[in-house]
């Protein structure tokens, strides 16, 4: 038994050190979970506050300042962008989110709910094509040529960005 321990000890030691070295990387990976707010390139807004984002995605605000209708786009269930949006922006469960929009339409406060995007490619294509469109995407999935908004004055790449998880 002691022989076996002696033989494996260096290996276990190396494994332990490797794990310790890896931990900060795992921490960084988690810190990289950042939600970006992207809009149609012609949108006249460059920056929003956290409260404005909440108001827009809850359809309390339905027009941009230039009076263009806001079109809400959201990724399909289970996607990372959707999960992050529900947690951080809506603060609702999937069921709560669904009920919220059925209720919103039932009250005749909106004529349609958010449009569901089934792939990153579809989302990227539509947010650039539909005037007034707005979409929440993970920072790592920001499409090319997308217009990324500052939230509370900061871009997703900057320290202290509000939608970092």
């Amino acid at each position: 038994m002691p022989k076996l321990f002696n033989a494996t000890a260096p290996l276990l030691k190396r494994l332990f050190i490797s794990l310790l070295l890896t931990l900060p990387c795992i921490g960084n990976a988690q810190a990289k979970e950042v939600l970006a707010v992207i809009v149609h390139p012609d949108t006249t807004v460059d920056s929003l506050t956290e409260e404005q984002v909440s108001r827009i995605f809850r359809a309390e605000q339905q027009f941009w300042p230039d009076n263009t209708r806001i079109t809400l786009l959201i990724r399909a269930p289970v996607s990372q962008g959707r999960t992050m949006a529900l947690q951080r922006i809506y603060q609702m469960s999937e069921q709560g989110f669904r009920k919220y929009w059925i209720s919103k339409m039932f009250k005749a406060e909106v004529a349609s709910g958010p449009r569901v995007m089934y792939s990153t490619g579809m989302a990227a294509s539509l947010v650039n094509a539909v005037p007034g469109a707005i979409l929440l995407v993970p920072f790592t999935n920001i499409p090319k040529n997308a217009k990324v908004l500052k939230i509370n004055g900061k871009l997703p790449s900057e320290e202290g960005y509000v939608y970092s998880m």
């Binding site: 409260e51 027009f63 209708r69 059925i102 039932f106 009250k107 709910g113 569901v116």
Partner: protein, 397 residues
């Protein structure tokens, strides 16, 4: 003043959905599936219930009320809403147009619409109404109950509404004028709906806030005034208990030379309401307070005052019981027994205890115990079960 019923039935009903196809030809802006106009969606709401009354052993199983809501965005500015109901009561089926609204959105600050609405008084009346699945409990609060005699459930006319984001408080308003559709005066026609009597100069104003910093919170103030025509007071009073009719007439006629019983008089109606609603995933607290004043427009000054409130609290459980949502509601209405507007005594109090079980995303089973007393009647204990469903939008959220 504004009698828009012929306009609604003759023009809106017919043309609203015919306009869909015409608009489709002119308003298409994006060639993407699901993003081109018109965008039409439909939601169906259904229920079935079992009722058991402890006092006299009465039991009943009924299909209750089924609703269909159609929503059409005709362009980025023009939209239409329609809601129809099918009510099963005893062996009768009653159909009704609950809402029919055509709206033009100028901006967030101003949206102008025309049609038939659920009167924006308080919270419940315009929030849940015929969507049994949407509401946590089986029934509405008694203030807004089926064929309510207190809150004018429907309103036909013109409505302006909008939002003003002031310091993240999200102030909202709704102001309208038209015809108040009362279900108060004539007695129940056994179809589930009371006969309707119209007020001819209804005015409604609601101010509310939905603060961004507390998601799910709304509180506000509503004011409603109307002049209700009573074509025949004799018909109105036929709804009162005979025991109180003679006393009622004596009170009204006391010291008056004219016999106002045989003269058509109007009733000035004023209603003020406060509401508070917090709807979040785990907690729900809804409360409304309604105060009213009813007064004859001519003749001896007869004024009735009354008030009512309810408070409802619910908690969505967690972990393995997350599909369960226990709730409690207290209802209380203080009304004059011989209120000049009501066909019968509206005094009421009740305690409701229940649990909602969402066994799928689109269906819920609710079980309720109720202890309630209407007017001078004997207190009732009852058990009610309801299966409520939503047939979701053709689009997936």
């Amino acid at each position: 003043m504004l009698n828009l019923r012929p306009l609604l039935t003759g023009i809106v009903t017919t043309n609203l959905f015919l306009a869909l196809s015409a608009s489709a030809q002119t308003e298409v802006s994006e060639d993407y599936v699901g993003l081109e106009y018109p965008m039409i969606s439909a939601h169906g709401f259904g229920e079935a219930r079992y009722y058991s009354e402890a006092l006299n052993g009465k039991k009943d199983v009924t299909a209750g009320q089924q609703g269909l809501q159609l929503t059409a965005a005709l362009s980025d500015r023009i939209s239409g809403f329609a809601e129809f109901s099918l009510t099963f009561k005893d062996s009768d089926v009653h159909t009704d147009i609950e809402r029919m609204i055509a709206r033009y959105d100028f901006s967030d600050y101003l949206k102008l619409s025309l049609g038939r609405y659920h009167t924006p008084i308080g919270f419940w009346n315009a929030t849940y109404h015929h969507g049994a699945w949407l509401q946590t409990t089986i029934d509405r609060p008694t203030l807004m109950k089926f064929g309510s005699q207190i809150v004018p459930i429907h309103f036909e006319g013109i409505l302006a509404e909008g939002n003003l984001p002031i310091n993240n408080f999200n102030l909202g308003y709704r102001v309208g004028t038209g015809t108040g559709v009362h279900n108060n005066i004539t007695v129940n026609d056994n179809s589930g709906h009371h006969g309707e009597t119209d007020g001819d100069d209804a005015f409604t104003l609601q101010l509310y806030t939905r603060p961004s910093f507390i998601p799910g919170l709304e509180y506000g103030l509503s004011y409603y005034t109307d002049t209700v025509n009573i074509e025949s007071e004799a018909d109105h009073e036929a709804g009162h208990d005979e025991d109180h009719e003679e006393e009622h007439l004596d009170d009204h006629a006391e010291g008056v030379e004219l016999d106002f019983h045989n003269i058509d008089r109007d009733i000035e109606e004023k209603t003020v309401a406060l509401h508070f609603a917090l709807e979040q995933d785990s907690i729900e607290i809804i409360s409304e307070l309604v105060y009213w004043e009813h007064e004859y427009d001519i003749g001896p000054k007869t004024t009735n005052y009354g008030s009512g409130f309810y408070i409802q609290a619910a908690h969505q459980m967690e972990g393995r019981f997350e599909a369960f949502k226990p709730y409690v509601r207290l209802d209380k209405i203080n009304a004059d027994h011989d209120d000049i507007l009501f066909a019968k005594d509206q005094s009421f109090e009740s305690v409701t205890l229940g649990v909602r079980y969402d066994f799928t995303h689109s269906a819920a089973l609710k079980v309720e115990y109720r202890n309630e007393q209407s007017g001078d009647k004997e207190r009732l204990n009852s058990l009610v079960m309801q299966l409520s469903i939503v047939l979701p939008n053709v689009f997936s959220f």
